[in-house]
Symmetry: C2
């Protein structure tokens, strides 16, 4: 019988483990070509509108393979249900046996994305972060800030969201966790006050303009994971001294880099994969005055690594 690990047990495990190292190792394996990650499986529904995605794969020579299934049904709120659901399945790469079912209800996707943001900040942030900027005050904006705690020594936070209530809620919740959260009146104000910025919105029009950005800033953009979404004006990627992606092949089709490529403002060979920067940090930030951008669209190796980390912690 597989282990069946529910969300409560997953949350308990997450308090006991540091996913940042696991995610870092995953990016390295990915950039070294040691992962097998087939194209995403997909079902689309019209009535009511929804979608289901299957991401799966493995690191060669590892003990496991992982299948993640995630759904998004965008009218669920009418029924009082969450829009997202999902689970991860962990199998033995030696026998094919199902070892564990992680009933994470989509939560581990948030965590692995936040851990990737922390990895990007660890390698690309300027040496002194005066304040952290958060654009998008939803769940992802919260977990991004929490996972930065391990790598960035700043409690000053400027936050903006299109919904002012979300900003107030964010301020109250994160102040209770030891941050000093300031409400920003615009994305531009966030960029003026913070030199480490995380964008985590579903925006389809740029929120940050090139004119907003101070020298010496690092921006991690995690919101845009489709060809339609965009949080950064493409000119920002042209201005940047270093542009890092999680997956160069994926960046050709989605995210901020895709938008800049399409606008003719960037060439793909200027980009570095996060795994390449981890292996050779000299490919990252060379001076505190530089502008760096990390565009993270999410790769299945993160799912593999977070599922493994939770499972192995659970077995302890």
């Amino acid at each position: 019988m597989p282990k069946i690990i529910n969300l409560g047990e997953i949350l308990k495990s997450l308090k006991e483990l540091d996913p940042i190292k696991a995610i870092e190792d995953g990016f390295v394996a990915y950039s070294q070509g040691k992962t097998v990650v087939p194209p995403v499986g997909e079902l689309i529904f019209d009535d009511p509108p929804g979608d289901m995605h299957i991401k799966y794969g493995y690191i060669k020579g590892d003990d496991y393979y992982v299948v993640k299934i995630a759904s998004g049904f965008y009218e669920n709120y009418r029924l009082g249900l969450p829009n997202f659901d999902g689970l991860m399945l962990l199998f033995s790469q030696k026998t094919g046996q199902l070892l564990a079912i992680l009933l994470d209800e989509g939560y581990l996707t948030n965590i692995r994305t936040a851990a990737a943001g922390a990895v990007a900040a660890k390698y690309l942030a300027p040496s002194s972060v005066k304040a952290i900027g958060i654009i998008g005050a939803g769940t992802q904006g919260k977990v991004q800030l929490e996972y930065l705690r391990g790598v960035i020594n700043s409690q000053e936070v400027y936050v903006w969201d299109i919904n002012p209530q979300a900003v107030s809620d964010y301020q109250e919740e994160m102040n209770n966790k030891g941050y000093r959260v300031h409400q920003a009146s615009s994305p531009s104000e966030v960029a003026a006050k913070a030199n480490l910025i995380v964008t985590a919105t579903p925006a389809k029009e740029p929120l940050l303009r090139a004119d907003d950005i101070q020298p010496g800033t690092h921006i991690t953009a995690v919101g845009a994971d489709t060809p339609e979404k965009q949080e950064l004006e493409a000119q920002i990627l042209k201005m940047a001294d270093v542009v890092v992606v999680d997956s160069r092949s994926q960046a050709q089709n989605r995210g901020e880099v895709y938008q800049a490529l399409k606008a003719g403002l960037l060439s793909l060979d200027k980009t570095r994969e996060l795994g390449e920067v981890i292996l050779n940090p000299s490919l990252g930030r060379a001076a505190d005055s530089q502008l760096t951008v990390a565009d993270l669209t999410g790769v299945a190796v993160q799912d593999i690594q977070i599922a493994k980390a939770v499972y192995e912690n659970y077995l302890k």
Copy 2:
């Protein structure tokens, strides 16, 4: 929380339900173009050799969608483990929520294949079956016979397998279930004695020759599900008055029909889908003297239908 239904509960449900009607409805929906079934997802492993397949999809307008994950690791017997493992996941098509996890360890794939064999026999067998022939005395050869009970009124069985011990075991087990099982010395002897034959082997060379086959026989071939496997000499499909497939598009690339197409002995437009025959039985057998062949390579709509049937019975 999803319902978690283990193999014991699944076996209990299977005793209480008739999957043949569910599978029949599935073939009809499939042939009417009412199903959405994306290409199969796949992972391949070298050391140890193994594979994992993801089959998934839904019937338009239905309440559910289903994801089936199945693995085959062919050296597991060395570890005293079954070669196969798997599970089925049932989701709501209205909300994307995970409703049930069916921990069937691959068993429901056997059942849905056996139920398809029964559907084929129901529509294609001659009016009087003097004896049932089984070629391949493994698990599939057993469940095929058991599911024929509902549609074919004969307890006389002739069985052959490459492994004589498997034939003896089959005889003992199935005699205890009320059949009169005779050991055949060759596939040819099976064809001489039986006018309803099921082939359920992993053979890569034909076991039944055109010269073996009596007029008025129906053959259901379920073993060949890849481009390499073949149980029937291709000439048999040329001789047949009616050739039925579960999926015409799949038959172009695998199974007995694929072999006959490749040999230039059959054209695809001669074949009928099982769903078409169910809707219009005049497309099937027209006389007791005809030779009919059903080539079943397995389609995801069967997985959808069996998972639904078990889940709905479990809820009762």
